[in-house]
């Protein structure tokens, strides 16, 4: 069922803290700045005159994640980027968690065995695309 309103973040949530799996920094040899690309992809939507202007993505710190964190909902107001097979043959996937038809948290998964072509910049593209899906119709 297509319900574009469900793509919005809860407007009262304010700043959304993004935390990145430290494995991402070393997992993809051809893209040593993978974390920076993810950050750039999401930060690019901050401060624009879009539907959820007061939702701002901040933080982008690296840290280790437990297996439970990689498969559970992040606390409300957080986005996790973790190295984990999203399955179904995809190289990336994101689980958005909704409350009352608005996103309140999300967990993005990047395939651990993926080979990245640095010229096509897939991490930047997917983080930008995921963020666009949330901020735009």
């Amino acid at each position: 069922m297509s319900n574009p309103l469900r793509n919005f973040w809860n407007a009262t949530i304010g700043s959304v803290t993004v935390e990145i799996d430290q494995m991402i920094a070393t997992q993809y040899l051809s893209v040593p700045d993978a974390a920076a690309r993810i950050e750039a992809g999401q930060r690019g939507w901050n401060g624009q005159d879009l539907c959820a202007t007061n939702v701002t993505f901040i933080g982008f710190g690296l840290r280790a994640f437990t297996e439970t964190e990689k498969t559970s909902q992040p606390p409300n107001g957080k986005v996790y980027w973790v190295v984990k097979d999203p399955q179904n043959g995809s190289y990336a996937g994101i689980v958005s968690y909704f409350s009352n038809n608005r996103v309140v948290a999300a967990r993005a998964m990047v395939h651990p065995g993926g080979t990245m072509d640095p010229t096509s910049d897939p991490l930047h593209l997917q983080s930008s695309r995921f963020t666009r899906n949330w901020t735009l119709i």
């Binding site: 069922m1 319900n3 469900r6 809860n10 009262t12 949530i13 304010g14 439970t68 498969t71 559970s72 909902q73 606390p75 409300n76 107001g77 999203p86 399955q87 179904n88 995809s90 190289y91 990336a92 996937g93 994101i94 689980v95 958005s96 968690y97 909704f98 409350s99 009352n100 038809n101 608005r102 309140v104 948290a105 997917q126 695309r129 995921f130 899906n133």
Partner: protein, 155 residues
Amino acid sequence: MQRLTYFLLLLVAGTITLSAVRHEKSTPIATPSQKNRDDYKKINERFPTADYNDKQDLPDPEKNAKRKEKQNRYDDTELVASHVEPGVDEAALFLEPHFTFPALPVAESEIVVVGTIGTAQALLSENKRNVLSESPLLLRMHLNPGSREWRRVQF
């Protein structure tokens, strides 16, 4: 001294107000009346729902064993979170690249089987980390002699 007292009172009041506002922001909760809205109802009508706390056991032991066997087969995927925050009522997975079906090569096929899905029921896998659906399937087999005339066999 009096000024310090007023300042401290103001600080305490401000902290309590800020704490209450932050708490309200961090735990949005869908009320029962919101869940009775039309959009919720439409989603529930269209998509079968599995109850996470339901044991899903069938009274017939033989049917139950078959169901368990099926549920076991889906234990290899982790789509369902074991914990969600209060107020969260839905989760959706978006994959990259988007999952698409290739065009069906109907003209090149001698037989085309068309399935119509009946009333679907949602189930959790045995380890509760995946969700699956089962439904009766009405099959129609079309023999395709060319592109002009089709014959149908219905099961």
